[in-house]
């Protein structure tokens, strides 16, 4: 029995470790994290600023909820309309554009709906609907999901009326949604970074890309201290300045997977 107690106390003691570097919380979208870019940026950041950035990887919706509640110090998301609303409502101090990439339409290699031959993203979507081929959607009110809905609407279609026989709303993050699409051999709408870094591609490939409408902007929003005075605004600004610095922007531009660049930095220096 005494050995048991000493084992247990040992684990209690391990609870007491703490780091002494400055730290802050940043909510980022799954699309950003799955790209693997944060694994490259965070260590450099730590070296330069001695700052521990604790990443909470959640959907855009949850990121904004965390921001509204004041549970994080800043957010990094990719949904312009929602971001502007967030700032307007006083939760975010302002939005600072950091980098962009694009969305792509993924699908089975055989492309049964012949979406690849279409001229525009909206018509590619239209083709899938017409052929009623399996399509897996994030369905979770994320930046990616909202963009997808926009495209359906552009094609004159209403996703809420789609039959579950071909349109599957997963209600999940990017990774889980990609897994589902891979298992079902279905079409899926994703950001390029998540796709390139995804390790379970199965029988899928990029079917459609390049339409300007697929532009995907990532922005950094510190939480407004007027709303939540306890948030670490100065650290958030430090992080922001580092992200828009030449060094970070170059690192972002140089980040490649299988020779392909994932993000294009576009921060405007004031």
């Amino acid at each position: 029995m005494t050995q048991l107690y000493s084992l247990v106390s040992l684990f209690f003691l391990l609870n007491l470790t703490s780091s002494f570097a400055a730290d802050m919380r940043l909510a980022v979208t799954t699309s950003f994290h799955n790209s693997g870019l944060s694994d490259v940026l965070l260590p450099e950041l730590k070296k330069d600023l001695d700052l521990d950035v604790h990443l909470l990887v959640v959907g855009t919706g949850q990121a904004m909820k965390l921001g509204r509640a004041g549970d994080v110090d800043a957010i990094l998301v990719h949904s312009k309309k929602a971001e502007e609303e967030f700032v307007q409502q006083g939760y975010g101090a302002y939005r600072r554009e950091i980098m962009f990439n694009d969305f792509v339409l993924i699908g089975p290699v055989a492309d049964p709906a012949q979406a690849a031959t279409q001229k525009h993203a909206a018509s590619a979507f239209s083709a899938i609907e017409k052929a009623r081929k399996l399509f897996v959607s994030r369905g979770d009110d994320s930046g990616t999901s909202r963009k997808e809905i926009t495209l359906w609407k552009k094609a004159g279609l209403e996703p809420a009326e789609f039959s579950a026989s071909w349109y599957r709303a997963a209600g999940a993050g990017m990774g889980a949604t990609l897994n589902t699409a891979s298992a079902m051999d279905a079409y899926v709408f994703a950001d390029r970074a998540s796709w390139l870094n995804f390790k379970n591609k199965g029988n899928l490939k990029i079917i459609f890309e390049g339409d300007p409408i697929l532009f995907n902007q990532y922005s950094f929003i510190p939480i407004n201290t007027a709303r939540h005075p306890h948030t670490k605004h100065d650290l958030a600004v430090k992080l922001e300045n580092w992200l828009v610095s030449e060094k970070a922007q170059t690192m972002i531009a140089n980040y490649k997977i299988a020779g392909e660049q994932l993000f294009t930095p576009n921060a405007k220096t004031h």
Partner: protein, 234 residues
């Protein structure tokens, strides 16, 4: 099948190379779970004993509710704890969200009903046996609880190990209140979820096998240390 073998290989590689991340999240898993089980035991075991020796008006309903709470959905518990600990919530000032402490709190809520209910069920028969004697000896309620808890300790171990099993494999609650933050609140189960999300099934499986092995080792250790299944009658 290929994924399974790849998973075993991944697990083997991680363990052989003593991967530092693996050690870190494994220790954290154990630390969070063991702390939660200890606290849940301090609350749950005496409560289970008390429930065995006390008669009160709503006893049957109380026991039924306690048993039902064993099935509390972890993700709902996590959500409620999150709302309570959020900066916008009643306990936000303690700044506990996204820390291992928040994870321990959530797991204590999940595990305590399990330990209380199972210890009560395990001690109930013993109380039936001891009832006349302990009342005849004019014992206090506290003395009765102590006698049950000590003499019935073998069945209590089952309660503790069940609680431990539930906690070590739990993910719903700790994902929400912990945030799966790298080097801070990431544990084996949340890391597995992460790797699944990345599509890296072999790695996820590898971590899964390690988690299972860890649970087995702990169970064996407890049984050996308490010399169960070895002595004569019970």
């Amino acid at each position: 099948m290929n994924d399974l073998t790849e998973g075993l290989v991944a697990a083997f590689k991680l363990v052989i190379t003593m991967d530092s991340d693996l050690i870190e999240i494994s220790l954290r898993s154990l630390q969070v779970t063991m702390s939660a089980v200890v606290i849940a035991a301090i609350v749950g075991l005496p409560f289970g004993a008390w429930l065995s020796v006390t008669r009160f008006r709503f006893r049957r309903i109380a026991i039924a509710i306690l048993n039902a709470m064993m099935g509390l959905p972890p993700v709902v518990v996590g959500l409620i704890v999150y709302i309570l600990l959020s900066r916008s919530g009643p306990f936000g000032v303690f700044n506990l969200l996204f820390t291992p402490t928040a994870m321990i709190i959530a797991q204590v809520i999940i595990v305590t009903p399990i330990i209380a209910s199972l210890s009560h069920q395990g001690l109930r028969d013993l109380w039936f046996n001891y009832h006349d004697l302990l009342i005849s000896l004019n014992t206090t309620k506290w003395q009765r609880m102590k006698a049950l808890l000590w003499d019935g300790r073998r069945s209590l171990i089952t309660a503790l190990l069940t609680g431990f099993g539930r906690a070590i494999g739990e993910i719903g609650a700790i994902m929400i209140v912990g945030g799966n933050i790298d080097h801070l609140t990431r544990v084996l189960t949340t890391a597995i979820a992460l790797e699944v999300g990345r599509g890296d099934f072999p790695l996820a499986l590898g971590l899964g096998f390690i988690l299972i092995t860890l649970a087995i080792i702990i169970n064996l250790a407890i049984h050996i240390l308490s010399r169960t299944e070895r002595e004569g009658r019970w």
